[in-house]
Amino acid sequence: MKFDLDAVFVERGERDSALVRRVVAALPGSVPVEYVADGREAARASIGADPFAAGKRRMVLMRRRAPFLMSCPAGSARFACCGYLVMVLASNCPMDCSYCFLQEFVADNPGFQVYSNYAESFEEIERMIHSAPGRHFRIGTGELADSLAFDTVTGLTRDLVGFFAARETLTLELKTKTDEIENLLALDPRGRVLVSWTLSPDQVWRTSEHRTASPAARIAAARRVLDAGYRIAFHFDPMIAYDGAERGYSELVDNVLDAIPAAQIGFFSIGGLRMTPALRGAARRRWPHDPMLLGEDVLASDGRLRAFTALRLKLYRVLAERFARAGAKVPGYLCMESASVHERVFGVAPDNPATISERLALGQDSR
């Protein structure tokens, strides 16, 4: 176990589930386990001066009452969207990035929930693929939680990889900032599982990505899962326009390309740091000395604070051009940006979300 827990809460009705058995067996004896009637109450508990941070150290194993599949919450008609489908198997994350949107998104519900009835998500996916025969779907678990953090304890990826590897119209995306890949290395993904790393330059990692693996460790982990038969991808999101960012991101891409040939990178995504004023307020209260939260941000038309457009787009272009010179075409897309921004960065208008999603699932160029 690479992260610390203060306690684990188990919903009584789930105590015999496979997930609970695995987790309880893997926990160090120093972590108390408490059985509760309703996990939602434990997840909502507001502890101490920083309930969000406390929630990260309180794992709650419980049933999920809502559907597991949802459209990515970042999607919107105003943006050129990648059509990502989210499979919600957990909520919150043991790492603590100062800019993380979960500080606002799960503020009232901060416990680190892992859903014991996750196998029901497979039934939802089966229904979806039967309703759209022949279509390819890219489904990820890394939106409301990190896909691999605690995987050595939960063992979720063993079931996930097994399920997706057996279905040719599905691609599973496991998105992470960890190097917790031990379980993956023992499995055969049959080309249907993509592991993606969110990457930032060292300067951002040191100031803002607390308890995450270093960028170098993430790249090394990517190399290892690639060698084990997985597809890989990288998310440069959020890109932060700090002083020296152009050099920082260029060097980061160089480090990626030194370790991994461009032709073997499934895709890269780009997105600028964007924060609602409420998120920025919450983040600044928790991390008052983090300079990365104080970029040259202005209020954009979607109500989010972003680096002013010229600065942000210049940074995007530096990264996209670096990949364009990489020797092989690496598909790329933008997250939460307009079609006109997409065109300015990649030189072409974006396709519709369903088409982009399908191309990314199939490993084709999404531009």
């Binding site: 300079p291 040259e296 921004v341």
Partner: protein, 183 residues
């Protein structure tokens, strides 16, 4: 001696905050600065007779610059572009406005520089009355607004002709707005 001086400064800060009805969190932030920064800001606030809104904005910006640059408030306030404003001639309200503009420029250096460059490029077009090019607020989008005010067909033809003549220059402004120029 030093304790006396700090206490005099804090008395001055509290008195000014009370007179201006400065919100409590901002007063707390001011009092939490190191002694030279507290005193330096008080000196400027008194000299420029900063109003409540200006105090709030200046304290916010000063605090953010301190985090961005890892410097104390006193160091920032001692910069020539700020010190000059406090010392120069002119009306107090005008100097107070200039101080806020200057501290904002330190907080948003590239935004200030890019906006100035774009405004200069628009000015160089010397567009006649009735044609205006408006940058997006705070350069927060890549959309340039071109406004024509015409009442006769002839005015419309003339305005479109002028825009057509300036097409290349306007395209350069658009490109800069989209980050393709040096920012």
């Amino acid at each position: 001696m030093r304790r006396e001086s700090a206490s005099t400064t804090d008395y001055g800060i509290r008195a000014l905050a009370a007179a201006r009805r400065l919100p409590e969190p901002h007063l707390a932030r001011w009092l939490a600065m190191d002694a030279p920064s507290r005193a330096g800001f008080l000196e400027i606030a008194q000299a420029l007779r900063l109003r409540t809104g200006q105090l709030v904005v200046a304290l916010d910006l000063l605090g953010e610059i301190a985090v961005r640059e890892g410097k104390a408030g006193a160091e920032i306030l001692a910069r020539p572009e700020l010190a000059r404003i406090a010392a120069r001639a002119g009306s107090t309200p005008e100097r107070a406005r200039a101080f806020i503009d200057a501290i904002r420029a330190i907080r948003f250096p590239r935004l200030t520089e890019t906006a100035a460059r774009l405004n200069s490029a628009i000015g160089e077009l010397r567009l006649p009355r009735g044609i205006s090019i408006v940058l997006p607020a705070e350069l927060g989008s890549d959309v340039l607004t071109i406004k024509l005010e015409v009442s006769r067909e002839g005015d419309l033809d003339r305005a479109i002709g002028i825009l057509a003549r300036h097409r290349a220059a306007i395209a350069r402004i658009l490109a800069t707005l989209g980050g393709s120029d040096e920012v």
